[in-house]
Symmetry: C2
DNA sequence: TCAAAAGTGTTTGTCCTACACCCATGT
DNA sequence: ACATGGGTGTAGGACAAACACTTTTGA
């Protein structure tokens, strides 16, 4: 049901109605909402976790048969973020654990023919759930850094979303969005390492996370491994430092 | 010529054309571009420089006679940033020294009646030039932190733009946009102090700026004051650290 | 008892802050 | 001369990287 929503149908066309003043040359553009959805999945060979994202195959021109970001035209009665969340659910059967507006792309020539302005969101979903997520013929998960040529300017959009995710993980506490409600510090560190693509010192990672005061330690521990059981932590929802007094999330 | 462009004319209305699939409920929204324009002007009494921005008086409903951000409907053939720069010039007769996309505001109820999605940019213009900038009956400069109630959600937008400017000045080299081609470190520090609203140590400011390697020192000095002449610096255009590999500027 | 990861302690270096101090000019 | 801001030096604290070390489990 969703492949038709991926930037295929020009709904609003240029309005030739002449109105007075400087707005005479104004005309409507088609407004779309797309979402870059990130999940963490273990690589087939290396078993290291890497970033993956779902794409939808286009079934119409332009760019028929190319892969594209999930999205669609903005319905008149739907909020921007709600539209992003809806296409996310339609594509993956998942709910976003984190959702933020990324950027609005509106270059005149980014879509052949009709001028399309796309408000793009980026989202994080839980890794484990993403593994068994629905994947039809027209939806497939790709490794984020090994993408084929995508439709429109979507390669550039994913590049920017990746940059945003990687820079934001370093100062904002969003990595837990890839995990369950409780998690060990090793799991959280694994997420950071996968996103940043570099190893982190367990000792220093523990201290910096604890110092940021965003985690609540539970009394539960994870046994079963052949080493000392790790304590389970929970994310502290209160207090949103770093983030603006307006938008973002 | 510009007062009519400030979010008054609904060009594209909902398109009732029924099309198949999930896009059936899709409809066009009116797409506008607005700009938050910052300049640095000396306060009347305190003589300290503070942030000011130009607003336009609305001459139509909704929100007739309220002050609003400069902007207008996006013309079909104009790039987003170009539209922002154009409205800036139309409003102030100035050219933007810095221009960046801020956020896209699209709440359903942000404009009475028609659904309006606004792609908002923020810009910096030169202080001295802004002082003698054209100001008509329908354009007036306001102190950024003493705004009257504005039309639509524009108070919230300015709040966010202020937050963005203040956080970005701390790590990105944009303060020179308020100054001429050459400037002394004291002038640059004055800009930082005005934006951040706190005093900075001249010695440490000098070092941190020099360490960032964004300034080229000229051989010129500014004489005339009754102290040692200050060296003039020029901004180094090369190398854009901190900023994304895609958008932003 | 040993491997392995959890978790703690300590050293080292770097960066930022505060502030003492010298430099060069106009009055 | 001396006041004023330009410009340099430097000690102290905060913080992060690197790494040695102890703890607790399963095999």
């Amino acid at each position: 049901m969703l492949e038709d929503t991926a930037q295929t149908l020009p709904i609003a066309k240029q309005n030739p109605l002449a109105v007075g003043g400087a707005a005479a040359s104004a005309a409507a553009s088609s407004l779309a909402v797309s979402t870059v959805i990130f999940a963490l999945r273990p690589d087939e060979e290396s078993h290291l976790k890497t970033l993956w994202l779902p794409l939808v195959r286009r079934t119409r021109d332009p760019h028929r048969d190319l892969w594209a970001l999930p999205g669609g035209w903005l319905p008149a009665g739907e909020e921007l973020a709600a539209a992003a969340g809806r296409t996310l659910r339609e594509t993956t059967d998942l709910s976003p654990r984190y959702l933020e507006q990324l950027y609005t792309f509106g270059d005149i020539d980014r879509s052949p023919g009709l001028r399309v302005v796309s408000v793009v969101y980026w989202a994080l979903v839980r890794s484990e759930v993403a593994e068994r997520a629905s994947v039809g013929d027209n939806v497939r998960w790709f490794a984020a850094d090994q993408l084929p040529p995508l439709a429109f300017d979507h390669n550039r959009i994913v590049e920017y979303a990746l940059w945003r995710l990687r820079t934001k993980v370093e100062y904002a506490r969003i990595a837990h969005a890839f995990l369950g409600d409780t998690f060990t510090l090793a799991q959280l560190r694994e997420v950071h390492e996968a996103v940043l693509q570099k190893a982190l010192d367990p000792a220093n990672f523990r201290r910096s996370i604890e110092a940021s005061g965003n985690l609540i330690s539970t009394d539960q521990h994870v046994a079963g491994a052949r080493h000392r059981p790790a304590r389970l932590y929970r994310y502290d929802d209160r207090a949103n430092d770093h983030d603006p007094p307006g938008p973002a999330l």
